[in-house]
């Protein structure tokens, strides 16, 4: 199955029509646990972006050497290797970024979205397309995390990016992990509603 999409279309697909969080509903547990502030969302998003791109490219390069029976262990191994490498490099050369991102990077090994993209895309397509697909999915994940983080930070701590906007804390509930599911659910409904509205206005049933 050859891929017939251009790089831009691959990125747009990751961000919009197949957004990992709002449309594919993958990697929910870690996403919901972490996205309490916009900054956390961005940090986790960047980390996922790198791991996704590197893993996609690696699997795409070695796709003909991977035995189909053991592809899942191989994917996990690839992801774990890249997570470790990024963790070590960050700790060694960017200690300030690591102080903020360190706790997030280690979580990524368990992310379903990365394994899923390797299985669905990278193990069938060429290296270049895998790179763009990984980039698109990574950006889509980051955007999703930022939006959820924004809602939760504003409603939970009354701030955006750490700056006090409201001056009070409306609902502490939104910082707790369970509230993440409510926010994601509401956002999904909102995105679906926009899609419906858009299609209706175009006259498509």
């Amino acid at each position: 199955m050859a891929n017939d999409k251009t790089p831009m279309q691959l990125i747009a697909r990751g961000v919009l029509s197949e957004n990992p969080i709002f449309r594919l509903a993958l990697s929910m547990c870690p996403a919901v646990g972490i996205s309490t502030t916009v900054m956390n969302g961005i940090m986790l998003g960047i980390a996922v972006l790198f791991v996704q791109v590197f893993s996609s490219v690696t699997i795409s390069i070695f796709k003909n050497l991977i035995h189909p029976r053991i592809r899942i262990p191989t994917y996990t191994l690839t992801i774990a290797t890249w997570v470790t490498v990024i963790d070590l490099v960050l700790a060694a050369y960017l200690p300030e970024a690591y102080a903020k991102m360190g706790i997030f990077v280690k979580l990524i090994v368990a992310f379903a979205i990365i394994t899923m993209r390797l299985e669905m895309f990278a193990c069938k397509e060429g290296v270049k397309d895998s790179f763009w697909d990984g980039l698109g999915m990574g950006i889509g994940f980051m955007v999703g995390m930022m939006v959820i983080g924004m809602v939760r930070e504003l409603l939970g701590s009354g701030a955006i990016l750490g700056y006090d906007v409201l001056g009070f804390k409306p609902l502490l509930f939104f910082i707790l992990p369970s509230a993440g599911f409510f926010v994601v659910g509401l956002m999904m409904a909102f995105f679906n509603w926009i899609e419906l509205y858009y299609k209706r206005s175009k006259g498509v049933k």
Partner: protein, 297 residues
């Protein structure tokens, strides 16, 4: 059968490949990582003593490391300290104390302060000084800060159980065991909840707490009053900060919203570290005085 063999071989090869990549990466980065950790510890240490990054450190100030070992020999345990020798002598003292606080043994070690920094050389010297066949376990190290030969502070490190995993902290206390500063070096609490323990407004609550108040420290589940919160965040002048610190110094620590367990863990952990240290240093001081041993602090 053939399939199984191919699978085993390929999986082994991929594991070896992954291990090689990670191993090479580790070799290249471990030096820089250790260096970063060391730099961070030094920075935190000076910040706790009130020297912000870039501030000049007076030459009359000196840091002396005290190492504590647990020595077990013949079913008997003693606590051994390695302290730098005073009175112009280069070298360290090995002071061994029984569990009831009486002197067990003391010896001079041919180990200068700089040499004592190396864990291996220190352990070798302690092994030579202790009874033959004793099991020696390194317990912890404390830094005694002196200015013109007088003690001005102790720097203590410690680990305790947080809400999830260990919380690693560094503390500075003055000779009367009043807390001068607290910093959290490492923790894995929940972001947005327990992770707030590394925020200034939480850490600064411990600043200036006297030993007596710390012994019975409690956690208060209430929002921090506005003026106090501003002072903790350093948003008011130094005088007001001092005044509010004075006002709240004997009160309980305000719990973080939604993270009472983390707050209690830190309060109890800090209390444990300081009270244990106060007991130990008093015992050590008594022994040093009784035996008329001169040390550099």
């Amino acid at each position: 059968m053939k399939n199984i063999i191919t699978i085993v071989i390929r999986l082994t090869v991929s594991c070896l490949l992954a291990a090689t990549v990670m191993g090479i990466c580790f070799i290249f980065t471990s030096g820089a990582k250790k260096h970063n950790e060391h730099v961070q510890e030094q920075r935190v240490m000076y910040e706790l003593l009130g020297f912000k990054a870039g501030a000049e450190i007076p030459s009359s100030m000196a840091l002396h490391e005290v190492y504590r070992y647990v020595v077990t020999a013949g079913g008997k345990q003693t606590i051994a300290y390695v302290v730098p020798q005073g009175g112009g002598k280069e070298g360290s003292l090995f002071v061994s104390i029984n569990l009831d606080g009486t002197m067990a043994a003391q010896k001079e070690l041919p180990l200068s302060e700089a040499q004592a920094l190396d864990a291996k050389a220190r352990l070798a010297a302690v092994t030579a000084a202790a009874e033959p066949g004793a099991t020696i376990i390194f317990a912890d190290q404390t830094i005694v800060v002196t200015k013109d030969g007088k003690r001005i502070a102790y720097i203590l490190g410690g680990k305790f159980q947080g809400f999830k995993t260990f919380v690693n902290v560094m503390l500075a206390v003055d000779p009367a065991f009043t807390i001068l500063g607290l910093d959290v070096l490492e923790h894995e609490e929940d972001p947005g909840l327990g992770a707030e323990i590394d925020q200034d407004y939480f850490k600064n609550q411990f600043k200036g707490k006297p030993f007596e108040a710390l012994k019975n420290i409690d956690v208060l589940k209430a929002p921090i009053p506005d003026d106090y919160l501003k002072a903790l965040n350093g948003k008011v002048g130094e005088e007001d900060v001092q005044k509010l610190r004075e006002q709240y110094k004997d009160k309980a620590v305000y719990a973080l919203t939604g993270a009472t367990i983390s707050t209690r863990a830190v309060a109890d952990g800090v209390k444990g570290i300081v009270t244990k240290f106060a007991y130990r240093i008093n015992v050590l001081d008594k022994i040093l005085k009784e035996q008329q041993l001169t040390v550099s602090f």
